[in-house]
């Protein structure tokens, strides 16, 4: 699991690369800590290279959503692969997010 965070066009972009599974969840939570430090912008979660996500991964993404919403901002899922989209869809989380691409 590889997570990089950058700021683009006034939005915070977190690029998730690899598998967001139970094994990676602790590491992922740490890597996403900077997102929770910011309260002034929308957050884009770039899933272009996200291969896999489990319920623990969903929980982390859900926390990002809760954080941005509490600040009056939006959380955007970008480029969901078919497999990952299915997981989001089945969990019902897909309707919470704005999706791009």
């Amino acid at each position: 699991m590889d997570i990089t965070i950058s700021e683009q066009d006034g939005r915070l972009v977190a690029v998730l690369v690899g598998d967001l599974d139970n094994a990676a969840s602790t590491q992922a939570e740490r890597a996403l800590a900077p997102v929770f430090d910011r309260t002034d912008c929308d957050v884009v979660i770039d899933c272009t290279e996200l291969n896999y996500i489990s319920s623990s991964g969903l929980r982390i993404i859900l926390n990002v959503f809760k954080h941005t919403r509490s600040n009056g901002h939006k959380a955007i899922l970008k480029n969901l692969s078919e497999d990952v989209r299915e997981v989001f869809y089945l969990s019902g989380f897909l309707q919470l997010f704005i999706t791009e691409g």
């Binding site: 094994a23 319920s55 623990s56």
Partner: protein, 738 residues
């Protein structure tokens, strides 16, 4: 019949298929055999009889023909002889009568008027003489004119008329002929001729021949001819009568009929059924009728005929009977046709008799056989019931497939397997001999195997005990080649013992085996077990020699080399694929050849698809490579692999998070149709299948994470089974292959 059992698939249709050829097939086959047997036998008998009859008919035909010809010759010659005697008698009578009167006539020759009396007497005294006359040289009696012919003749009613033939009976030819005859001065018969109209008057002109004797003056000069006429009408009548009699013999309406004729020495017809041809036509038969009498074949008037002839003395004529070939052979032909008809009827009778009799013999035979077949069918069902059943087998952790095809209704092959302590006990065996005795032995050995595996801990011990027990049972010289193995599914360790059986293949490699002796052969034999280690994915293929010794029509064996090649090339197939492929190869090789020996095939694929982790998130990372490996071996695509991974991960995470377990063991098994992944943990009892619904009424962001996992577990799999056994949660995740 092929009995296949599959461990992993309780809903397999193999067993249903195995009974597809059932008794009905066997019975109808039996009936057809029976029918064809009686038909074949009947036709063979018919063929022999037919040949015999043909020979008999030919011989009879030839003999009858010879007989008919001989008989005809005899008959016609006798006929001719009779006629000849008759003719000869008449001729002699005429000759003798004439000659007896010559002296008296010559005495009175100077008194012409006296001669009328002589003529009258000759005719009166000799019934054979139709007419008697004397022809004198012209002008012999000056007082009587140029022509003087005293004559006496019998008219048609038998009255004798004496007359002087008047001068009109005179011609140039007559003078010359008379002159020649007088000069020749000899007695002779004239050619046949028709009576002069002059004499015949209104009567039918008779066929005559005349005996001429020169008459001399007292000085000895020939001056006249005494002519006595013999009517040949009797001969015509007689011959016509004979011919009529002859033809009456044949009832057939023939195109040509038999007839007889007389010809003179020049070949001119004297007598012929066709009066118009008489004295006109000639037949050149001198060459054919060269003998005094005989038989010859000739084409007469275009008709191939047999000719029977006899020469007539004194006159130089030949009498003959002509019988067309088809007439003479008619009776022979009829006889032959009769014989043939009788033969055909006889043949028909033999045919019907054979059909009836052979069917009569075959029917009880068939009934008996059908009864036996029925019992064998039951025996087959019982025997098949002795083979392992896959339903609810505890051995759902290995890919195994087996097939047994007996050469007869019951066979002497056996195989068995079952699971104990995560170990697979299996055996394959081949009883010497076939049929019912072998089947009983098979049942005995299989029962011994079952009972021994409950106690014995090694393959060697199992074989040893079976051998000992069999020897005790005193099994009349029957012995069994066996291969017994114990496969530890956790480690892939194989403990085995080979008792005279063909070495199995491990992924196409021949397994090293000690030969030992077949069980039941020698009670004191010490069997020696062996060990080997299987690699993950190894395919163990065990079989009986019916496979390698499967023969085609030309007697060629399938061969161990070929089997090894198939086992090697298809080691990565599933167990079922390999077994079915081998079966197909046997069918292909054998073609129409009958299966001569039982064939049993057992394929076991050991897959090291297991993982043991401590119940901690620290170890959960091992799931990904494990699932990847399982997916690869099970031939599952990436998308489905991810879904499986999600299901397994959620289940395992659940156990780690809530179960208070120490160890989690995962094991996967695949076959053609599905993948089963078993998760075994020693934590608190928890049945994820009971908590099947995720509460969607709660907003998604407020749902507990664990419930989400269970929802995924259901969504991502094709079946879940939960069992609580010995303080363990056993969860089976089933994924059907697409």
């Amino acid at each position: 019949m092929v009995e296949g059992c599959e461990l992993r698939m309780p809903d397999t249709d193999v067993q249903k298929n195995s009974n597809k050829f059932g008794f009905s097939f066997t019975y109808s086959y039996l009936c057809s055999v029976n029918n064809s047997l009686s038909t074949r036998l009947t036709y063979r008998i018919m063929a022999v009889v037919l040949v015999m009859m043909a020979v008999i008919a030919t011989v009879v035909y030839v003999m009858v023909r010879e007989y008919m010809l001989d008989e005809a010759k005899e008959r016609y010659q006798n006929m001719l002889l009779n006629t000849h005697e008759e003719l000869h008698r008449h001729l002699s009578n005429v000759m003798v009568a004439s000659e007896n009167n010559v002296h008296d006539i010559e005495r009175d020759i100077e008194q012409p008027d006296m001669l009328f009396e002589h003529m009258e007497r000759i005719v009166k005294e000799n019934s054979d003489i139709a007419c008697s006359s004397i022809l004198f040289e012209p002008g012999h009696y000056p007082s009587k004119g140029k022509v003087f012919i005293p004559c006496a003749r019998r008219d048609s009613v038998g009255k004798v008329i004496v007359s002087r033939v008047d001068s009109s009976y005179h011609s140039y030819f007559y003078d010359e002929w008379l002159d020649g005859q007088l000069k020749a001065d000899r007695k002779e018969w004239s050619m046949a001729y028709f009576e002069s109209k002059l004499f015949a008057g209104n009567q039918k002109q008779r066929l005559l021949t005349t005996y001429t004797i020169p008459l001399h003056t007292h000085e000895g000069r020939a001056v006249g001819l005494l002519c006595t006429d013999l009517s040949l009408e009797f001969l015509r009548n007689e011959m016509m009568e004979d011919v009529n009699k002859m033809n009456a013999r044949f009832k057939g309406n023939f195109k040509h009929q038999a007839y007889s004729f007389v010809i003179d020495d020049k070949g001119t017809y004297i007598i012929h059924p066709d009066e118009k041809r008489m004295l006109r036509d000639t037949l050149d038969t001198n060459a054919i009728m060269a003998e005094e009498r005989g038989a010859a074949t000739a084409v007469i008037d275009g008709i191939p005929s047999w000719l029977y002839y006899r020469k007539v003395q004194d006159v130089g004529w030949t009498m003959a009977v002509v019988v067309p070939n088809d007439v003479i052979l008619f009776n022979g032909l009829m006889l032959n046709i009769t014989i043939l008809v009788v033969m055909v009827l006889g043949l028909l009778a033999i045919y019907l008799f054979c059909r009836q009799q052979i069917k009569g013999i075959a029917d009880p035979f068939a009934m008996q056989k059908a009864n036996l077949e029925h019992e064998l069918k039951i025996a087959n069902a019982i025997q098949m019931a002795m083979l392992p059943k896959s339903v609810n087998s505890p051995s759902e952790t290995i890919d195994l497939y087996a097939a047994l095809a007996p050469a007869r209704e019951v066979g002497g092959d056996l195989y068995d397997y079952f699971m104990r302590d995560n170990r697979l006990y299996f055996c394959i065996g081949d009883v010497s001999g076939k049929g019912v005795p072998a089947a009983l032995m098979m049942a005995l050995v299989r029962a011994m195997f079952r009972s021994e595996t409950r106690r014995a801990e090694s393959a060697e011990a199992i074989v040893d005990t079976i051998n000992h027990n069999l020897s005790e049972e005193s099994t009349a010289g029957y012995f069994v080649t066996m291969f017994v193995g114990i496969l530890d599914l956790a480690t892939g360790h194989l403990d085995y013992c080979n008792a005279g059986h063909e070495p199995p293949f491990i992924s196409g490699r021949s397994l090293d085996v000690k030969v030992n002796l077949p069980v039941g052969a020698f009670p004191e034999w010490n069997y020696e077990g062996q060990q080997t280690q299987l690699n993950p994915g190894d395919m163990l293929f065990v079989y009986t020699d019916g496979l390698t010794e499967a023969m085609n029509d030309s007697g060629e064996l399938l061969g161990r080399e070929f089997v090894q090649q198939v086992a090697r090339e298809h080691a990565s197939d599933s167990a079922r694929q390999l077994v079915e492929l081998m079966e197909a190869e046997v069918r292909r090789h054998a073609g129409n050849a009958e299966q001569s020996d039982d064939i049993t095939l057992l394929a076991i694929k050991w897959q090291d698809l297991q993982l043991s982790i401590t119940a901690s998130m620290d170890d959960i990372g091992q799931l990904k490579p494990f699932i990847d490996n399982v997916a690869q071996q099970a031939d599952i695509d990436t998308k489905e692999a991810k879904r499986l991974r999600l299901a397994v991960e959620e289940a395992v995470a659940n156990v780690i998070n809530y179960g208070q377990a120490t160890t989690i063991r995962l094991q996967a098994t695949t076959n053609d149709n599905q993948l089963v992944l078993t998760i075994d943990d020693d934590g608190q009892p928890f049945d994820p299948t009971a908590d099947s619904a995720t509460d969607f009424s709660v907003p998604a962001d407020e749902r507990p994470s664990g419930g989400l996992g269970i929802m995924f577990l259901h969504e991502m799999t094709d079946g879940l089974e939960y069992q609580r056994i010995d303080g363990h949660n056993i969860l089976r995740i089933r994924k059907v292959k697409k």
